[in-house]
Amino acid sequence: MNETETLTEVTKSSALLDLALALGGFALFSLLVVAVAYVVMRVLFLAIPAPAVVRFLSWRYLIHRPTNLIGVVGIFLGVGALIMILSIMTGFLEQTRTSMRGSLSDMILLLPGTEAPRRPYDAQKILEVVRADPRVEAASAHLSWPCFLTREGGNSLLMLSDPQRSRHAFVQLAGIDVEDEKTSTEFHASLVRPPTYGESVADPTAPFAPPPEYDSSMGIPRASVILGDQLFAAHRLRRGDFVTLIIPVRDPQSEYGFAAKEREFVVAGSFRSSENEMDLERIYVERGQLARFMAGANEEDELPRGAMNVSQVLIKLRNYETDRDATQLELYDALKDKRLIDSSCQLATWEEFRGPLLGAIENERVLLGIMLSLVLLVACFTVFAILSMMVSEKRRDIGILTALGATPRLSLMVFLAIGFWDALIGAFLGACTGVVLALKIDGIERWLSAALDVQIFNRNVYIFDTIPSVVEPLAVGAIVLGAFLCTLLFAAIPAWRAARLDPVEALRNE
C-alpha cells in the first residue's frame, strides 16, 4: 500500500466519523427542538383557555402514531430546503451585484465609435464636467477596442480553430489612465489580489512600467500590457514576454472600410478581477498608448489631433442609492448642453448595463422559490392525508369525548392541534437546519465533495471562490409563518370533519 492510498483511507474513515458525529448532533438537535416544542405547547395552552384534553390528547395521538412523522419530516424538508436554497440564491444575487459593481463602477457613459467627420469626444472636458458634480466621487475615461492576440511561437490559429478556446484569441483592449482608475474602479485591487494562474505586476503603483524581466536596451516594444489572469495562463505567458496585438482600424481606402494594424507589446503581468469574464478576455493598456496604436502614431509621438481617445467614462458616486436617478438625468443634460456628447451617447447605471443577467438570477430565485413551495404544499397535503386517516380511525374516540362532555368544537381543536404540532416541530426544525446549512454551505459542500470524491459545486464555473449565501431573517420568518398557516389550513379540513361526525354512530358498536 503506498502513501496516497493510506491517506485516502484515513480521509474516508474520518469522513465517516464526521458523518456519524453530524448525524448524532442532528439527533440531539431534534430532541432539543421537540423539547422546546413541548415547552412552547405547555406555555401556549396555559394562555389559551382551551380544555386540557386538547393539549393532552393531541400530543398523545402524535406520539403514538409514527405516521405523523411523515408530515413533520415533510414540513421540515420543505422549510429547510426553501430557506437554504433561497439564502444561496440571495447570496448569488448579492455577490454577483457586488462583483459586477466592483468592475463596472456606478455609472457608465457610453460614447459610441465616431463616424467621421464628427470630431472626437473630448475626454478631458467630459471628465471635468463630470467631476464638477458634487455627487460624483471619481471618474475615469476608458478607451475600449476589440483586438486579436497572438504571440511569437504561440498557437493563436490553433486557438481560433477550437471553439472552446477561441475566446482567448479575441479579446478586449481596455485603455485606461492608471491614477484615475485607482479611484473609480477596482483596478488596483485586481492588481494586488494574488493571481490564481498568472504573475502579478512588479509594482502595482506603476503597473505599466516595463517589467524587470524586460531588456529595455532593445528599444522595442515600448508599451506594456496587463492581461487577465486566465488569459495570461491560456497563452502560457511569463512576465516580460512579447505579444502581438492586431486591431481593426478605419480605412476609407479598403474595400470594407477598415484595415488591420498590429503592434508588439511587452507583458507587464496579470490581474485578477472579481469577475471571471474579465479575467478571460480583457487586456489593460495605457489609454494614450491605445489611442496612438489606433491612430498609427509611434509610442513616443504626440497623439494626432482628431484621434479617437475615449469610448466610455466610468463614474463613481458618493452615494449611489440616493443620488442615482437625479445624477443620471442632470449629468446627461449638462454634458449635452455643453455639446460634449450627442444623442447617440448613453448614461447608464451599472444595473441597467447588466440588467439582463441580474434579472435572470432574480428570475431563477423566484422560480426555485415557487418549486420549493410546492414541496411544502405536498408536505401540507401529507398532513391533510394523515389527519384525515386519523379522524376516520378515531371516530370512536370522538364519540367517547362527546359522551363525556365534549362539544364539536373541542373535537375540532384536538385534531387541529395535531396539525399545529406537526407545523411547530417541522417548521422550527426546518428553519434551524436551513439556517445552519445556509451559513455553513461552503464547508459542507467541500466536505461532501471530498467524502464522495465528486465536485458538487465547480468553483471555476462561477465567479466565486466560496458558495455565497445570505440569510434574510425576514424571509426565514415569512417561510416559517407560511408553512405554519398552510399546515393549519390543511389540518383544518379533517378537523372540521371530526367536528361534524355523529358521535352516536361511532359509539353503537365495537
Binding site: F45, L46, I48, P49, A50, P51, A52, V53, V54, R55, F56, L57, R60, Y61, H64, R396, D397, G399, I400, L401, T402, A403, L404, G405, A406, T407, P408, L410, P503, V504, L507, R508, N509, E510
Partner: protein, 237 residues
C-alpha cells in the same frame, strides 16, 4: 322513596331514522321518570330501541320531538355548550364495549371528564389532587396494579371497571349503563355489577340500567319494559 325528586324525566320522546327517504320510526313517544337514588332497569328485546332511547336521554342524539329534563331543565332546548356541560357534570355513561381511549392509561382514562371539563390552566393546577382521586377510585375497584396500563393490556372486566370509574369520576347524579355486563362472562359481570350497585348506594345515584338479565332486573327497584319503541312502566306508580 316516592318522596325523592325526579332527576331525569323524558316525555313523549319520538325518534325516527330516515333511510332511503323513508322514515323508520324507532321511538313512538316514550315517557320515563327516574327519581333521585332510584335503580331502574330497562328491559326489552333486541332492536326495541333501548340504546336509541338511552342516547336521547344521554344528550347524544337529538329526538324528533319530546323533551328530556335533567334536574328540571329542558336539555334539548339548550345550546350545544350547555348540553355538553350537562353531559360532563350530571351524566355518567357506561357502554357495553367499555369505550376507553387506547392511547391513554387507566388513570388518564378516568381523568378524561376533568380533562374535558377544565381548561389547561385549571387542570395543571389541580393535577395532583385529580390524579390522587382517580388513583383512589381505581384502587377501590381493585385495579391497584393496573394504574399505568393501557386498555389493550387489560381484561374485559378490568376495562369495564376503568370505564365505571371514569363515569363516576365527576360524581354525576345520574348514571346511564347500556348492558354494562353484556360483553363479560357471568362471574366477571357479577363483580362489575357488585361495584356498580355498591357505588350507586353509596352515592345515592339514580341508575338507569339496560339489561337482558332478569335476575339482574330483580335487584332493581323498578323495571320498565320496552317493545317496538314503546315503554311500559316508565313512569312512577
Amino acid at each position: 322513596m316516592s318522596l325523592q325528586p325526579i332527576v331525569l324525566r323524558a316525555s313523549a320522546v319520538k325518534k325516527a331514522y330516515r333511510i332511503a327517504r323513508r322514515a323508520l320510526p324507532i321511538l313512538h313517544g316514550c315517557d320515563l321518570e327516574l327519581a333521585r337514588g332510584e335503580r331502574l332497569a330497562l328491559m326489552g328485546p333486541s332492536g326495541a330501541g333501548k340504546s336509541t332511547f338511552l342516547h336521547v336521554l344521554g344528550l347524544l342524539d337529538r329526538p324528533d320531538s319530546g323533551h328530556v329534563e335533567i334536574n328540571g331543565a329542558d336539555a334539548w332546548s339548550m345550546g350545544v355548550d350547555g348540553r355538553a356541560r350537562l353531559r360532563n357534570a350530571s351524566l355518567g355513561f357506561v357502554f357495553q364495549f367499555y369505550h376507553l381511549v387506547a392511547e391513554l392509561t387507566a388513570v388518564e382514562n378516568v381523568l378524561l371528564p376533568s380533562l374535558i371539563g377544565l381548561n389547561t390552566f385549571e387542570f395543571d393546577r389541580r393535577r395532583k389532587e385529580l390524579d390522587g382521586r382517580a388513583t383512589e377510585l381505581l384502587v377501590r375497584f381493585g385495579l391497584k396494579e393496573r394504574l399505568k396500563h393501557r386498555p389493550t393490556q387489560l381484561s374485559g372486566g378490568e376495562r369495564q371497571r376503568v370505564a365505571l370509574a371514569r363515569a363516576l369520576f365527576h360524581d354525576p347524579p345520574i348514571l346511564i349503563a347500556d348492558e354494562p355486563t353484556g360483553n363479560l362472562d357471568r362471574e366477571t359481570g357479577e363483580k362489575v355489577l357488585e361495584l356498580l350497585f355498591e357505588e350507586q348506594a353509596r352515592r345515592q345515584l339514580s341508575l338507569l340500567l339496560v339489561t337482558h338479565d332478569e335476575r339482574l332486573a330483580e335487584r332493581c327497584e323498578r323495571v320498565a319494559r320496552m317493545d317496538a319503541g314503546r315503554i311500559q312502566n316508565g313512569l312512577r306508580a
